[in-house]
């Protein structure tokens, strides 16, 4: 095919542009300039701190840097610069006694702080050096962290006795740890597509702390106060499930898995269920619809076992000529339990037993102040659906009247319906 000479150069540029623009998603760290920048930056961050516990240093007269610490840092920075790396920051840890009163930022968690600083300064590597001077020994530990994956890559720890042989020993230590670090870099790592975005969480409750992992070992992502929470960048593989834990005081903590990992879609956090140790409840019951029942539960074990004391007040009226209302009140004690394992399950099944007494007052009976029917429930069962601070429930009883009042000594039942003593109610935790 003949192409005009004047068109060859623009055509070549166009083909290259087309391939770059439309050749699908580039492999990680290869074609995307942004990702290339992320993975290929080479600068280092350095955190260091020392403690001098020798007798002559206890009065704080000499707070200059320990000479061996200085030599170790010097050896480390020299070796890295010789390799062509540069330092984006060097900071002293506040945990060192000599750092007290300095302008250093608070470093309650040196590693986390260092990793945050590495992200801020776009440093790929973080080296943390700690030294300790005690009598005749000089002790050190060095750790190199990957700022991208936020993991420890290599570490080294040893001690020496100050003297002429100390300097080569420090150089040897630096050489050894850097050699190990290089060796780690040469290990074949399967390329992983890492997410670029930060996960946005939508709030359902205030004051919920979100942990990456478990509260005891994980990292705090943040506390939900605003309608949404933007998590810090977490270098997770694309599509890899992410486990978080939600925690709030007085509520059951909950582990939640984001099945698709970090995505650009907001994740609505589930509401935590309140730990129930006491609760009020109100209900109305079939055959007692002209009235209500009010009760209070005390939980022996939160959301497991409970005692309940309640009072029901209702009226029966046939709406027929010549009929007058008949009034009843029942005081009743229950012992109940939840059958499901999860204490914070929204849908729960309860069962238990109860004992009560129904006082009946018939206003037309001038010469009788009323009678009490003792009632025993060998079994009641209920279904509850729980929201964080309240629940709705239905419950049925199977009561047996002891025949002490107007009722027969028999299983109680509604004529033609049997034991259908269904209650519908609300529980306020």
């Amino acid at each position: 095919m003949w192409i005009a000479q004047s068109l060859k150069k623009p055509l070549l540029v166009g083909i290259v542009w087309f391939l770059l623009a439309f050749d699908g998603k580039p492999a990680l760290g290869a074609e995307s300039p942004e990702e290339t920048e992320k993975l290929q930056y080479t600068s280092w961050g350095l955190l260091y701190g020392w403690i001098d516990a020798r007798e002559e240093q206890r009065d704080g007269a000499n707070n200059e840097m320990d000479e061996y610490t200085a030599m170790l840092l010097s050896s480390l920075t020299y070796a890295l610069r010789q390799e062509g790396y540069e330092f984006s920051f060097q900071e002293q840890l506040k945990e060192s006694p000599v750092a007290i009163g300095s302008d250093l930022p608070e470093t309650p968690r040196p590693i986390l702080y260092g990793l945050e600083r590495a992200q801020e300064t776009r440093s790929r590597w973080l080296v943390v050096v700690r030294t300790y001077r005690e009598r005749t020994r000089f002790i050190w530990s060095i750790g190199i962290y990957d700022g991208l994956s936020q993991t420890l890559v290599v570490s080294d720890s040893s001690f020496l006795f100050p003297g002429l042989s100390a300097l080569p020993q420090l150089d040897e230590t630096v050489g050894r740890i850097l050699a190990n670090w290089k060796k780690k870099q040469e290990e074949v790592v399967n390329p992983v597509e890492v997410v670029e975005q930060r996960q946005l969480f939508k709030r359902t409750q205030d004051g919920v702390m979100v942990y990456l992992g478990s509260p005891s070992q994980g990292i705090v992502i943040g506390t939900l106060q605003e309608p949404s929470l933007l998590a810090p960048y977490i270098p997770m593989g694309v599509g890899k499930p992410l486990s978080i834990t939600l925690e709030k005081e007085g509520y059951w903590s909950k582990e939640v898995v984001l099945p698709k990992g970090i995505t650009d879609r907001p994740f609505r956090l589930p509401a935590l269920q309140k730990k129930t140790d006491q609760a009020w409840w109100a209900a109305t019951t079939l055959a007692r619809l002209m009235g209500a029942e009010l009760g209070r539960r005390w939980y022996v074990m939160p959301d497991r076992f409970f005692f309940s004391l309640s009072d029901a007040l209702w009226m029966n009226y046939t709406f027929q000529q010549g009929a007058y209302p008949v009034f009843h009140t029942e005081i009743r004690g229950e012992f109940g339990m939840y059958l499901q394992r999860a204490v914070d399950a929204p849908f729960r099944i309860t069962m238990g037993m109860a004992l009560g007494g129904i006082y009946t007052w018939i206003p037309a009976f001038a010469d009788e102040i009323g009678r009490i029917d003792l009632v025993m429930d060998p079994l009641f069962i209920g279904l509850e659906y729980h929201f964080p601070t309240w629940a709705i429930f239905i419950k049925n009883r199977f009561p047996f009247a002891l025949g002490t009042g107007y009722l027969d000594r028999a299983w109680m039942e509604i004529p033609g319906m049997g034991p259908q003593f269904w209650s519908v109610g609300v529980l306020i935790k």
Binding site: N316, I362, Y406
Partner: protein, 292 residues
Amino acid sequence: MGKKKIPGLILGLALAWLGNSCDLLQLDVFPSYLGNATSMRSFDEVLRSLEIDPTGGSVSFMVFLDGSYQGRSYRYLGVVWSHPSGSFIFFFDGDTLAYRNYLTSMPGGAYLGVWEDGSIISGAPSVYSSSAYAIVEPFTFFKKQSGFFNSTTSFSRAWVVYDSQSNTCTVVPSYLSLVDLFTMGNTLQFLIKDTVDNVVIPYSSSNINVSYHPRIPLENDGRAWVSAGGVITVRQERGLRLFRYSFSDGARIDEFALPYVSNGDMAFAPDGKRWALYDRDRRRLYLLRSWW
């Protein structure tokens, strides 16, 4: 079904339940007639208070006795109680069920009613061609007269004031029987049961010669009463169910359920405002307001 649908489902069921609450409101685990009751007596407690052993006895029937004797009126509920040792007649206040008196060694079991002078008369079932009776004063309960009626007809549970003016005697076929009666002023209301057609026919002394009389079907229980409110029949259906019919055309007016009473006896006061229920299973006697 998603978890989010569960609260909606529960709420829907609850609303559907409450939506039909017109009938549901009347559901009651307690006897519904308690709302109509004005008084209640444990019959056994009354017997024990009189040192009468209730074992083996049972209420045969009861009847309201509203009368006037020597210018003084009275309202009693008379209860005939059968016992192996003989018939007892108990008198309770017709407005409060307060115990008044009891009689024994009296002819009883066939009828109990008000005699023409306002005394109370009680009769025993007929033996051969005669039946014993006794007449007592309603306030002192003193037996002032006794004797035998020569009659081959069976009496009802209540006695009628003898109409000396008409002095007529109606021959009643064997398949017809008098089941209840009362006087309203000078009018006698009575109920005849036709055992062939299984109906009851209300009559009164004012219309006995009229050609049309409504025929009211009896229910499976077979009993019927007559009162100022109309004719009442009873059906055994999940307890007892009472039906009220009009005197004039025999149309059903209303009904009253007694779901807890499967074995009961009733009596209706002549004034139509009160009725009595004896629950044989619980051995309780109730005085109730009429439901009409």
